[in-house]
């Protein structure tokens, strides 16, 4: 087919957490611009299997941009060159014939490499387990206007809840800080009446776990919000950080 591309991939290969990894070069041919980045990796893996080589391990699940499982650092950017999309929603039309593409796993002490491009993001789960919930049953959805919530707050909480926990914020932060993730998880609850009650306790517990997991400190460079695949968080990230920092010393 016309318009198909030949590319050179440099992919991080690493057997397991203990062994050292390295970038390995693979040529791939005849890649359709309509393929997603992950489909291009499927092509590479089929090629590797036919050659009797070990396929590249990479994370993916929904391939619809909603689960947050896919996680590749492509040419120095989390989820690749486009803003507001996950790797599975990145299409090969964003690249040109003859390009060399470097693909690396998320790099953070708190996200150890399991194999190749797969990293262990259970540090996020442990942070959530420390308070990313409301500890009583708040019942069914309320009748309209039963619990008045200002529209701005409702909108902000909703934007925060758009976080899919993919870890791109950590991957791109020069300090591997988890501030965007944690502040989104804090704010989606703290902004609403049901979540407000435990706000301070929640922030403190989640921040403590965040520090324990070995994430770095936020220096407000703003890189996280640029790479966040859920673009809407962009508008509010600073706000979420503040929500979190303000709640921290309250009480």
């Amino acid at each position: 087919m016309s318009g198909n591309m030949n590319l050179t991939l440099k992919v991080w290969r690493q057997k397991n957490a203990e062994q050292k990894g390295e970038l390995v070069t693979y040529p791939v041919a005849n890649i359709s611009p309509d393929m997603s980045f992950l489909e291009m990796f499927d092509v590479l893996n089929e090629q590797l299997i036919t050659e009797g080589k070990e396929p590249v391990a990479f994370d993916h699940d929904c391939r619809e941009g909603i689960c947050g499982m896919c996680s590749m650092h492509i040419n120095g950017r989390a989820h690749g060159p486009n803003n507001g999309v996950t790797t599975c929603q990145l299409h090969m039309r964003s690249f040109n014939d003859g390009d060399t593409i470097v693909v690396e796993p998320w790099r953070a002490a708190a996200f150890p490499v399991v194999k190749d491009l797969v990293v262990d993001r259970s540090s996020f789960d442990r942070i959530i387990a420390k308070g990313g919930y409301i500890s009583v049953n708040t019942g069914n959805a309320q009748d309209a206007n039963n619990l008045p919530v200002p529209k701005v707050d409702a909108d902000k909480a909703f934007e925060a809840a758009a976080c899919i926990g993919c870890g791109a914020c950590v991957a791109t932060c020069k300090n591997a800080s988890a501030m965007l993730f944690v502040s989104a998880k804090v704010s989606q609850l703290a902004l609403l009446p049901q979540g407000k009650v435990e706000a301070t306790e929640r922030v403190q517990n989640m921040v403590r776990q965040m520090d324990l997991e070995g994430f770095g400190n936020c220096t407000n460079t703003g890189a996280c919000e640029v790479e966040c695949p859920k673009g809407k968080i962009i508008l509010f990230s600073e706000n979420f950080f503040s929500e979190m920092r303000r709640n921290f010393f309250l009480k």
Partner: protein, 221 residues
């Protein structure tokens, strides 16, 4: 969370960075104002009077000690934070995240700060040390003459320009970041803070840069 933990957490450490940073910014305002008096161009008379007041007033002297501790705290804390941040990413990217997602100076606060520290060593030995020596020996110190001697040398002028250049970029990120670290974010006021911070980090260093230049070029005598 226990109280001690509260103050060693990553959030609290950034509070310290922000508060000391803002304190140092307030010092810059005073330092810049006083030194601008050389532009009166009266042979340094007004400036020397102000300098004499600053080096002999008891309140200012106490604040000076506070300033010293603020600076040390700012440096020590940043060192602790930087080391922790380094540890947070043990394996570097082959292709590092670039300017597409953040400003270079926001990512280089440590390097800019270190340049500033080197500059401060030169700056203190040029002016602060001789002033102190004179005060302790109960001698009159002509700060304006001292400036003229130092800024007669092109290499000092060059060092000072690099120094205030680093200051400018350090402030460009630091000014607004300090408010952010304190959790002070507001729909209406944050854009104001950012604009003020931007102009502050251009105007103040520019005034500082004008001093060695004006003296070197003989505009002020």
């Amino acid at each position: 969370m226990s109280n001690s933990e509260l103050f060693t957490s990553s959030i609290a450490k950034k509070y310290v960075m922000a508060l000391t940073g803002l304190f140092l910014i307030s010092f810059l305002v005073i330092h810049c104002t006083i030194n601008s008096l050389i532009f009166v161009n009266d042979g340094g008379e007004t400036f020397n009077e102000a300098a004499h007041f600053m080096s002999h007033n008891i309140v200012i002297r106490i604040l000076e000690v506070g300033l010293f501790f603020g600076l040390v705290l700012h440096m020590v804390q940043s060192l602790i934070l930087t080391l922790k941040n380094r540890k947070a990413r043990p394996v570097a990217y082959a292709v590092a995240p670039s300017n597409e997602s953040s400003k270079w100076y926001a990512r280089s606060m440590g390097i800019l700060g270190s340049l500033l520290l080197l500059f401060l060593v030169v700056h203190m030995s040029n002016f602060w040390v001789p002033t102190k020596q004179a005060v302790f020996a109960d001698l009159e110190h002509n700060s304006f003459e001292a400036m003229k001697t130092v800024f007669a040398e092109w290499y000092f002028v060059a060092i000072y320009l690099v120094g205030v250049g680093s200051l400018s970029y350090h402030l460009m990120h630091g000014f607004q970041s300090a408010f952010q670290s304190l959790g002070l974010n507001h729909k209406k006021y944050t854009p104001v803070i950012k604009t003020v911070g931007f102009w502050f980090s251009i105007i103040v260093p520019a005034i500082f840069a004008a001093m060695p230049l004006a003296i070197y070029l003989g505009v002020i005598e």
